[in-house]
């Protein structure tokens, strides 16, 4: 992973946004999803209460995570599931491989799981001779194109239907030039049904794990997770340890929030609840269920009071749909498994140096925080990351120097006045090519302000300041005298 070059967000974003037409298309597509979400939300008068409940449930759960994990393991095991624990990505992948080998499984189908993306499971399994088919349509498209998903819920949002048509023509034998989504989806249906029926094992993620009952819940629109879990004899479900919720009734809160936030639907087509392995009508086990509980940095995030709430994330993607920067730079520009606002909070915890541009790829508009169904204060966390990066000296020295310099000036009002006056004069007199050169990032697309003749302060001193104590103190440096109380 560290062998890949670090492409910082600004450069990747610049490339994306240079194609104005495509950027508009991408932006519109995602804004449309945001609008669908809004329409749904407005039908629920108690929406803010739901968000607050979700936040409280998750806060309580993360605080007591060890206890709930143990309760979950006990209940799940009692129901007949095998529970495995993995400290990191490597351990997770090894466990998956071991289970597959033990069951002589060579062909597997996998439904959407950001955790398995995080662990880079597919390339690992493929290296060991396992055929992995991503069964979610968007993920299958991305897999055939040898790309990575650009959005956690809409993996192929960056791909046009003509491009999908080309890919399917190449790999599935659809007609050349065909791009009708219905036609292409039908082709994928046949192709993937075949895979489901021939798979030796099915891998899924987990949306919610219920501590009190030991069950897991998976939400999909396509039904692919259910086919993957119910046809092959082995079902492996991977989950981050933060996916736990304490009680079955808590599911009401989350199932009311998830699909509305993610895609603007009142609920996903399928909300499937699994307790223990598949059984026949007499209660006889007819399959295996393996649950893998993965840490991979989550306990570390939990350590930090500043970033702990990021563990509340239910992976709805609403923050991406609303983020004006994500919509105009695309998921790939983040260079991270999870992009967008939540990705920009989580990724630096894995590798701060690699992802140091992400907390700055944000205008701090706060829309993500307001849209998040579990009330993660995302833009505040991004700001906190900037502080953290500066403290770890991961801020470019030019910026550090600039800030130090400006602070010095701001502590000396007379100096600030003088510099302001000089800048205004310079702007008025400097020839244009010397102002709008290639190092002037502001000037790439915008004009600088027209400099006024006089600053407000100059006017005030001239017209209002006579006799007041403030006039004297204006020329003092550093610690000034506090003016007389009236």
């Amino acid at each position: 992973m560290s062998a890949l070059p670090i492409i910082e967000h600004p450069r990747a974003a610049a490339e994306f946004v240079a194609n104005r037409e495509r950027t508009r298309w991408h932006d519109k597509a995602l804004w449309f999803v945001r609008e669908k979400r809004d329409r749904m939300v407005r039908t629920i008068p108690e929406w803010e209460w739901l968000r607050e409940m979700a936040s409280q449930i998750k806060t309580h759960t993360i605080a007591n995570l060890a206890e709930y994990l143990e309760q979950f393991e006990r209940s799940a095991t009692a129901a007949g599931a095998h529970v495995h624990w993995a400290r990191d990505a490597e351990e997770h992948n090894t466990i998956v491989l071991r289970i597959l080998r033990e069951n002589r499984a060579q062909r597997i189908v996998k439904s959407k799981s950001m955790l398995t993306e995080e662990c880079h499971l597919n390339p690992f399994l493929e290296r060991h001779g396992i055929e992995v088919i991503d069964s979610d349509l968007g993920e299958r498209i991305v897999q055939l194109r040898e790309e990575t998903p650009s959005h956690i819920v809409l993996p192929a949002i960056h791909i046009k239907k003509e491009e999908v048509g080309d890919t399917f023509h190449q790999h599935l034998g659809t007609a050349a030039g065909a791009s009708d989504p219905k036609y292409l989806t039908e082709a994928a249906r046949d192709h993937l049904r075949d895979k489901f029926l021939r798979a030796d094992a099915g891998l899924t993620g987990v949306n919610f794990a219920i501590a009190e009952t030991g069950g897991i819940v998976i939400c999909t629109n396509e039904g692919n997770a259910d086919l993957g879990a119910s046809l092959p004899p082995v079902h492996i479900a991977s989950m981050g340890i933060e996916k736990l919720i304490p009680r079955a009734i808590d599911l009401a809160v989350f199932t009311r929030l998830l699909a509305r936030s993610a895609t603007g639907q009142p609920i996903t087509t399928y909300t499937s609840h699994f307790h223990g392995p598949r059984r026949d009508l007499s209660g006889q086990q007819t399959g295996q269920l393996h649950l893998i509980l993965v840490d991979n940095g989550r306990a570390q995030i939990r350590d930090s009071p500043e970033f702990r709430e990021a563990l509340h994330c239910i992976r709805c993607g609403a923050c991406m749909n609303t983020c004006p920067v994500y919509r105009r730079s695309g998921g790939h520009s983040y260079g991270a498994v999870v992009p967008g606002p939540i990705g920009s909070v989580l990724s630096p915890t894995i590798d701060a140096k690699r992802h140091k541009s992400l907390p700055h790829a944000c205008s701090l508009c706060g829309s993500c925080t307001d849209v998040c169904p579990v009330r993660i204060p995302l833009h505040h966390q991004l700001l906190a990351w900037r502080k953290e990066l500066a403290a770890r000296r991961l801020l470019p020295w030019s910026k550090r120097l600039a800030m130090k310099g400006v602070t010095f000036v701001f502590q000396h009002p007379a100096l600030m006045n003088w510099m302001g006056k000089m800048s205004r004069m310079a702007l008025r007199w400097t020839p244009r090519p010397l102002i709008y050169h290639r190092w002037n990032d502001w000037g790439k697309g915008r004009e600088l302000p027209i400099p006024p003749q006089q600053s407000f302060r100059e006017w005030w001193v001239k017209n209002r300041g006579a006799g007041s104590a403030e006039v004297q103190s204006a020329h003092e440096t550093d610690r000034h005298r506090r003016p007389k109380e009236e």
């Binding site: 309580h60 060890a66 129901a79 609920i267």
Partner: protein, 207 residues
């Protein structure tokens, strides 16, 4: 190589080493949760908005008429009906020893226990369905729900499911399978059923 027990202990110890205080679980009691004056009307409206066809029927004859009006049903070769008194099938689910042979299933008529008005979801109890994959493999799905068994929202829904949630498999299904992964264009009938017909049985004997 550390054993599985090691990883578990390490993770739990790590979590316990950082004590985090938090308030107790909230009670989720709220008098202001959404309600609907016309549960049936709301359910039908929402069901249709998610792509299902929703019909209120009072007799098996009425139901049969509607189904026979549908070309895919008339053409169907293999029909499994878990409610033969309402719709007769021509194939018994028990005859399939393994789920893969269900790939040729055209229609499935299944019972739903209750419906949820806010999102058109129906709870399916699998305790008498021998192959749960059948519900996803069938090309076309029809679900029959007693019209009096409607709840307004998911809080009421999960209360109603209660302990039955601990069965090996339980499902809320809302609308037919769908995807919008190709340029946000909605296509009904992704991997699961192509269409969903929901029948609300407005008949006191319907159980």
């Amino acid at each position: 190589m550390s054993s599985a027990a090691d990883a578990k202990q390490i993770i739990l110890d790590r979590l316990r080493s950082q004590v985090v205080t938090a308030p107790p679980l909230p009670s989720l009691q709220n008098e202001d949760v959404i309600t609907f004056a016309d549960l049936q009307g709301q359910f039908c409206e929402t069901s249709r908005s998610v792509g299902a066809a929703c019909h209120v029927v009072h007799s098996p004859a009425e139901l049969t008429t509607i189904l026979n009006d549908l070309e895919p049903f008339r053409r169907a070769r293999r029909i499994v009906s878990l409610l033969p008194q309402w719709v007769p099938g021509n194939t018994d689910l028990q005859n399939f020893d393994e789920p893969h042979s269900l790939r040729s299933l055209d229609w499935m008529i299944a019972p739903g226990l209750f419906g949820v008005a806010e999102n058109g979801a129906i709870w399916i109890d699998f305790s008498s369905i021998s192959h749960r994959a059948s519900l996803f493999l069938t090309q076309y799905l029809a679900i029959l729900v007693p019209a009096k068994n409607l709840v307004p929202h998911m809080h009421a829904a999960y209360e109603r499911v209660g302990r039955a949630i601990t069965q090996p498999f339980g499902l809320f299904v809302s609308g037919p399978s769908k995807t919008a992964d190709i340029e946000q264009s909605l296509v009904l009938g992704a991997h699961g059923c192509r269409t969903l017909n929901v029948f609300l049985l407005a008949n006191p004997e319907a159980e």
